[in-house]
């Protein structure tokens, strides 16, 4: 810190938590988000005035907090949320980025998008309905995307008389299901978003619950440092060569550390070429450091003048990934046009984009019951399936389970640049909870 006062020292050194919400249209998700923003004093006067004005015009008694989060005109007309919206709020303890994602089925791709960068996911259920198909789908997406922390928010407790039995049964069922899928940490919290119980302030109506409120949990959950526990990965974005009088020989490899920790003096291997060298300097945006870690953006300098360009990966020589041209992965199809066997695509993995062909689509997955449908032939929007892809050039790919940043990729349509699918290399779930069904007659889950 250079120039902020004591008073704001606490504000400036907080950490950042990215989290996502998933819940269906009627679970009260917009109300929960509105309540989080409102009760954490993140809604400002003019925003609240606008909400009150619209609520009054519609003849509603109380301000409709859901209005705080309704963005596009089409949504206001339909009264639904059709895309991922990002919200920002802060407390004295932490800064939050919330990916607010629609919960109904045709927008699986939005939930996948929101979960892809989240350290934590809040899954919302209606206490009156308990765990339904949609809830299982949300748990599956969180598990598939390897979101480190999941919160089950059992909402509308006021409508079930704040009964502990109701909450406990739902929490138990959900925890069993999500644990089976390999979700590493699950926290269940009974709430009423409408009345404000256990969202920001502890509930006087549920003294049987001794755990944290939603906001307390968000403030204290460890921000995932899993990134630094994995082997180091450094995708090269850009080569910096000033060739100026002041810096005639400077050659630095700019990038963001995708995982792990890098140190000066470390022996490294450059992939896919396999050449080796040693890190002689790390420039961390204006200062020279001996050590840097994910997700810092830095510039590396190496001892040897070897041919390195954008798309290469620098990794410690002792734990470099293998390179491959045969990628097996789970994908979520995110485009309106289908993805068929034989499709020629581009695959974008870290900073490298290469041509590829979809060789096989071995199965499609129904998220409700995790049943697999063999050889669907193609995937359509919001489908999740297994694919086998052959790439024109080798990729230094990790399993998604080991590294979300270097195990993920996009499939892109070379004709118009559309993002077709979001891919996760390796196995789908931490545990094998899937069954194979023979026929694929049912259109799915509307």
């Amino acid at each position: 810190m250079t120039s902020t006062t004591e008073q704001f020292a606490d504000l400036s050194a907080t950490t950042l938590l990215r989290f996502a919400t998933a819940g269906s249209v009627d679970d009260g998700k917009s109300t929960l988000v509105g309540r989080l923003l409102h009760d954490s004093k993140s809604v400002l006067t003019d925003q609240m005035e606008a909400v009150e004005a619209v609520s009054q015009a519609r003849g509603q008694e109380a301000p409709d907090l859901a209005l705080l989060t309704d963005g596009l005109r089409a949504e206001r007309e339909q009264g639904i949320t059709i895309d991922v919206a990002y919200r920002y709020f802060a407390t004295a303890r932490r800064r939050f980025i919330l990916a607010d994602t629609p919960g109904h089925v045709q927008y699986t791709r939005n939930m996948v998008t929101g979960a892809s960068t989240a350290d934590l996911a809040v899954v919302l259920v209606d206490a009156r309905n308990g765990v339904i198909e949609q809830t299982r789908r949300h748990a599956a997406v969180a598990a598939l995307l390897r979101v480190p922390h999941v919160v089950l928010a059992v909402n509308k407790m006021d409508l079930v008389g704040y009964e502990e039995k109701v909450f406990a049964a739902i929490a138990e069922e959900f925890t069993a299901y999500a644990s089976d899928l390999g979700v590493p940490e699950i926290t269940a919290i009974p709430i009423s978003a409408l009345a404000g119980d256990n969202v920001v302030d502890p509930s006087a109506n549920m003294d049987w619950y001794g755990g944290p409120t939603v906001l307390e949990h968000l403030e204290t959950v460890p921000v995932s440092h899993d990134l630094t526990a994995c082997p180091a990965r450094f995708p090269v974005q850009y080569v910096i060569r000033p060739q100026s009088a002041e810096h005639p020989d400077y050659r630095g490899y700019a990038g963001q550390i995708a995982s792990g920790v890098l140190r000066v003096g470390e022996a490294v291997t450059v992939l896919p070429s396999g050449r080796t060298s040693t890190i002689v300097g790390i420039d961390a945006l204006g200062e020279s450091v001996d050590i840097a870690w994910a997700p810092q953006s830095v510039t590396l300098r190496l001892a040897d003048d070897i041919d390195i360009s954008r798309g290469d990966l620098i990794a410690p020589s002792g734990s470099a990934p293998a390179t491959t041209q045969d990628v097996e992965a789970t994908v979520c199809h995110v485009a309106d046009q289908p993805l068929a066997v034989g499709a020629r695509v581009l695959i974008k993995h870290t900073t490298r984009t290469v041509k590829a062909i979809v060789k096989e689509i071995p199965s499609r997955l129904t998220l409700d019951d995790l049943s697999q449908h063999p050889n669907p032939g193609q995937l359509v929007a919001n489908d999740i399936g297994r694919v086998v892809v052959r790439t024109a050039e080798p990729l230094a790919l990790d399993a998604y389970a080991a590294s979300r940043r270097t195990g993920s990729f996009l499939l892109i349509d070379p004709a118009d640049g559309t993002t077709l699918a979001a891919g996760m290399a390796g196995e789908s779930f931490a545990s094998k909870a899937t069954t194979t069904v023979q026929a694929d007659e049912e259109g799915w889950d509307f």
């Binding site: 120039s3 400036s12 996948v112 850009y238």
Partner: protein
């Protein structure tokens, strides 16, 4: 080319943790470098306002000790604060950058645009901006837009695809997953890129303070003759001034945003230093735009409509 001020990373409580400012800074630098690696001719929209100043500062850091591989573009409404234009030109010179100016006044003089009855020129920026992008063949255009500014922006992508008319179609935007940005576009199309997407107003100010970034003076409290219109304190200038019944008075004010003088209002403030400004914002109960921008008050869907037609 000068390199930027070095700072020691913020202290956080855990090993291998990053403060939120360091995390946001690393993310923005990553975005700048992605564009440098994937586009032919990127440009940074630079107005001399605080968000574009922070963008430029991050770009300088991203490529140091080499120069920034982008040019700058300013869409000048002709009603800009003189202090801001002076800052703009000084900054461009200091870093040896190239600046293109697209002028609303030139378009009005040539009869290609008509002055609005209310004298506001912000909505007139769209045509000069889109024509400059077309004629200079920019394929990536950095803007300082933040998702926290306004509801329609909450759904904006970091890489936002625009067709040859610069139009934004919310249904054509690509899903953005992990940190994988897809910048592919057809010839004639371009991508708007928002490196500050995940920053809030407070983050921007805290970062300015931490990095010791210089700003135009109008961001700090000063005595100025202003008059009240539509609940905003406006400064008279070439664009116009007080009408009948609007009484100019001298007040201690500052500007929270910098834009067209005809629709950017000042707020009463005695915050004369960065620390005082941050303190004021941290306890402020009005959003940045709601307090100061007439054009965002137009209608609930105003911003969405303007984005569709190529405005940011």
């Amino acid at each position: 080319m000068t390199t930027t001020v070095a700072h020691v990373h913020d202290e956080t409580d855990a090993p291998y943790a990053l403060s939120h400012l360091d995390a946001l800074e690393s993310e923005a630098v990553h975005i700048f470098r992605e564009v440098a690696g994937e586009f032919e001719k990127p440009v940074i929209l630079f107005s001399g306002g605080k968000d574009s100043i922070v963008m430029l500062h991050l770009a300088l850091k991203a490529f140091a000790p080499a120069p920034v591989p982008f040019t700058l573009l300013h869409v000048d409404t002709g009603h800009n604060f003189p202090e801001v234009l002076e800052y703009r030109d000084r900054t461009v010179e200091k870093h040896g950058l190239r600046l293109h100016v697209a002028s609303v006044q030139d378009y009005i003089d040539a009869g290609k645009l008509r002055e609005r009855p209310d004298g506001t020129r912000n909505p007139l920026q769209t045509v000069p901006l889109t024509e400059a992008i077309q004629s200079l063949k920019f394929d990536a255009v950095f803007g300082g837009g933040r998702r926290d500014e306004e509801k329609a922006r909450a759904k904006e992508r970091v890489f936002s695809l625009r067709d040859e008319f610069s139009q934004w179609d919310p249904r054509r935007q690509r899903p953005e997953l992990w940190q994988l940005y897809n910048g592919r576009h057809a010839p004639g199309e371009h991508v708007r890129v928002f490196p500050l997407s995940n920053w809030t107003e407070l983050d921007v100010w805290q970062y300015i303070a931490r990095e010791g970034i210089e700003l135009p003076e109008i961001y700090f409290a000063h005595e100025r003759e202003v008059f009240l219109r539509n609940g905003m304190w406006l400064t008279a200038g070439e664009w116009g001034g007080a009408k009948e019944g609007e009484v100019p008075e001298t007040r201690l004010i500052r500007y929270r945003t910098v834009g067209d003088m005809s629709c950017t209002g000042a707020v009463d403030s005695d915050a004369a230093t960065l620390d005082a400004v941050i303190a004021e914002i941290a306890v402020s109960r009005l959003t940045e735009r709601g307090a100061t921008r007439a054009d965002d008050k137009m209608s609930e869907a105003a911003m969405e409509d303007r984005k569709r037609e190529g405005y940011f």
